[in-house]
């Protein structure tokens, strides 16, 4: 993952010093940062390794007078009024008690777009390079395919003439229904969509590859390059290749979002597929919701403030990053394996928030200390496109008093909901391990918590699944997906998009 470059970045801000600093200041700042981020003290910490490269690069520039002069000129050329985003990191407590055992601390990282971006003078629709990759296997026949056509027609209507659209339909093979083109002749594009018919099986890989091929034709940094995949089936045997294809696409700047329709698709696979580029995956449980879902997704893409966002997290040598979860927009579990966390797009007027869980070591010495250095990076769209990054380096106070701060409400609320998602995950893990009793208990606990939080529809589902598990040692596929995606969507604060009433409109 070290292919990500940091061109266009201010070397002074990397080291956290002023441009007027002397060479000794530069050296001291570099030494301080290197002690934390050096690979020798950070084994198995790719986030730290990448940041170490960055600060070393910054130091090399500033240590050489000739290069430093050149860099100063470059920094001065960056217009002062350029739009940027900001990063705020909030810990679950600022004062931590030193203990003889490791302890958990949570951090809520929020990335805010420039508030000026919502003003008329800066308001502009981001240009899309969008490819719809749609499943048209036999199982899509009937209302599903019809709804999909309606959705595609509406998307064609809402796109601008400067946007690029392509459409790939796949079953056992992939067919490019609309090759990548500007959305000018809407009637002709719609006619092609109307001719689609359903047949055959589901082989996602071909569809995905053709989709990537279409997006590549117009691939450009100033566009929002995005693939929107919709499937209703499980694909066999080509998962590993598809995941590799999505990772390669992410490196080129192509993001993938996925939507699963009905019960048969593989949610774990789609989660992994979208995670490489920070896209989102969603569950649509009725054909009727398809149109709204797709339209909303495309509309949000046209409000992009910056794209190809990611967080780079370097925990201190004695601190461990355990998990990360994107709360908004579109809640999604994130992989922390690489230290780089792709976050996808940042929209105007909406922030990205990520909740992270760290483990702090036992027996910490008293005094102030750092925990993790977090960097947010992304391409900001404006008159021109520019890469921007901002750093947060939080310090915590280690004390030996037992007096505790109350955790911020934002963290408590978010974590309370994330806990629900984790509980259904635990039930699934227990089932996978063959522990029916634990799985039943987890689901019952989940039902109780949901009930206490006023989510009675979801609580009923959890209770029904608990009984199902107790008797058959298995969840129903519908119940499993519904619990997973609905507990997930609780976190966004928006009401879940698809209907949560499992019994009233079972139109699938």
């Amino acid at each position: 993952m070290s292919t990500v470059t940091f061109e266009g970045v201010d070397a002074y801000s990397m080291l956290g010093i002023a441009p007027s600093s002397t060479f000794d200041d530069v050296k001291a700042a570099y030494r301080r940062a290197a002690r934390r981020l050096h690979p020798d003290v950070n084994r198995n910490n790719p986030g730290a390794a990448a940041q170490f490269q960055q600060i070393t690069g910054a130091y090399e520039i500033l240590a050489d007078p000739a290069q430093r002069t050149k860099h100063d000129e470059y920094v001065q050329k960056i217009p002062r009024d350029q739009l940027h985003f900001s990063l705020r990191v909030m810990p679950s407590k600022r004062r931590i008690t030193t203990l003889t055992e490791p302890q958990v601390i949570y951090m809520l990282a929020e990335v805010f777009p420039d508030p000026r971006a919502t003003h008329e003078s800066h308001k502009r629709e981001s240009r899309l390079n969008l490819c719809l990759v749609l499943d048209r296997s036999n199982s899509m026949n009937g209302p599903r395919l019809n709804q999909l056509k309606v959705a595609a027609h509406q998307i064609i209507d809402q796109m601008n003439e400067t946007d690029i659209l392509s459409l790939v339909a796949f079953n056992d093979r992939a067919e490019v229904i609309i090759p990548a083109t500007a959305v000018t002749d809407r009637a002709a594009l719609k006619a092609r969509v109307s001719l689609m018919s359903a047949s055959g099986g589901t082989e996602l890989l071909h569809g995905l590859q053709s989709g990537i091929g279409e997006v590549r034709k117009f691939l450009a940094p100033r566009l929002v390059n995005h693939i929107l995949l919709l499937t209703d089936g499980n694909t066999f045997g080509d998962n590993a290749t598809a995941l590799q294809a999505s990772r390669d696409a992410a490196k080129e700047g192509i993001a993938i979002s996925a939507m699963g329709l009905g019960q048969e698709w593989n949610d774990d696979f789609l989660d992994e597929l979208v995670s490489a580029s920070g896209g989102s995956s969603s569950y649509i449980n009725s054909a009727g919701a398809v149109v709204r879902f797709l339209n909303n997704h495309v509309r949000n893409l046209s409000k992009v403030f910056s794209d190809r966002m990611f967080l780079s997290i370097a925990p201190d040598p004695d601190v461990k990053l355990e998990s990360a979860f994107r709360l908004a927009p579109s809640p999604q579990p994130l992989s922390v394996e690489h230290g780089f966390i792709p976050l996808g797009t940042l929209q105007r007027g909406r922030n990205i928030s990520v909740l992270m869980q760290f483990e702090m070591p036992a027996n910490m010495p008293l005094g102030f200390r750092s925990a993790a250095r977090i960097v947010a990076v992304g391409d900001v769209f404006g008159e021109t496109i520019h890469r921007f990054q901002t750093i947060s380096d939080l310090s915590l106070e280690v004390t030996n008093t037992t007096a505790q701060d109350k955790p911020p409400t934002a963290i408590l609320e978010a974590l309370g909901k994330l806990t629900l998602y984790r509980m259904q995950e635990r039930a699934q893990q227990a089932l996978d391990a063959g522990d029916v009793r634990q799985a039943t208990r987890s689901l019952e606990n989940l039902a109780n918590r949901l009930q206490a939080l006023g989510e009675s529809d979801l609580a009923q589902q959890a209770r029904a699944e608990a009984q199902q598990v107790a008797h058959t040692a298995n969840l129903t596929e519908r119940g499993r997906k519904s619990l997973k995606f609905h507990t997930r969507s609780l976190m966004s604060g928006e009401n879940s998009d698809s209907s949560t009433s499992s019994n009233s409109n079972g139109d699938l």
């Binding site: 109350k406 609580a459 009923q460 409109n505």
Partner: protein, 172 residues
């Protein structure tokens, strides 16, 4: 380690919610007594929508009956009187909610076991003199004496257990 006050699971210090049961682990013992906050929540929400624990049954609400061991709940649009029991070939009158297909016979449900009455904005449950009795939240009902039903209540007809939920139809 921090012990969860609800289920006794050991959690790492600093954890804010129990890994096992999902209950909040508040370090400040004063905030462990949640009732004030919860009562506030309930009373404020009663006016907006039917929630768990409330006895208020909105005009357009329906009853969802979750029968243990059945995956799909049964919906009832309550009229003035809903009789619950099991259909029997020897008598012509059928109950409004027939539990035969859920093993009512083996579980000792009477033909006319109990009834749910609807008044202004509440529901009441009455045992109709069943052979094996009706239990509301574990308490046996005295026949012909009405008891108020709340959202989330557990009812046992003989040995057959069901959960009652109120559902306002707007959420669809």
């Amino acid at each position: 380690m921090t012990k969860c006050p609800y289920c006794g699971t050991q959690n790492r210090p600093g954890a804010l919610f129990c890994d096992d049961c999902g209950q909040p682990l508040l370090e400040d013992p004063n905030s462990l007594t949640l009732p004030t906050k919860q009562i506030e929540l309930v009373t404020s929400e009663i006016n907006t929508k039917a929630t768990w624990g409330t006895a208020r049954f909105a005009e357009d609400a329906i009853i969802l009956v979750h029968i243990r061991d059945a995956t799909e709940p049964v919906q009832i649009v309550p009229r003035a009187r809903v009789v619950i029991g099991r259909a029997d070939a020897s008598t012509p009158n059928k109950p409004d909610l027939d539990l035969t297909s859920y093993g009512a016979m083996e579980k000792g449900v009477s033909r006319n076991h109990a009834a749910i009455y609807r008044s202004e904005d509440t529901l009441t449950l009455v045992d109709l003199g069943s052979a094996n009795g009706t239990h509301l939240n574990g308490q046996r009902l005295i026949p012909e004496q009405p008891r108020v039903l709340r959202d989330g209540d557990e009812i046992r007809f003989g040995k057959l257990v069901v959960h009652i939920y109120f559902k306002t139809s707007v959420s669809i």
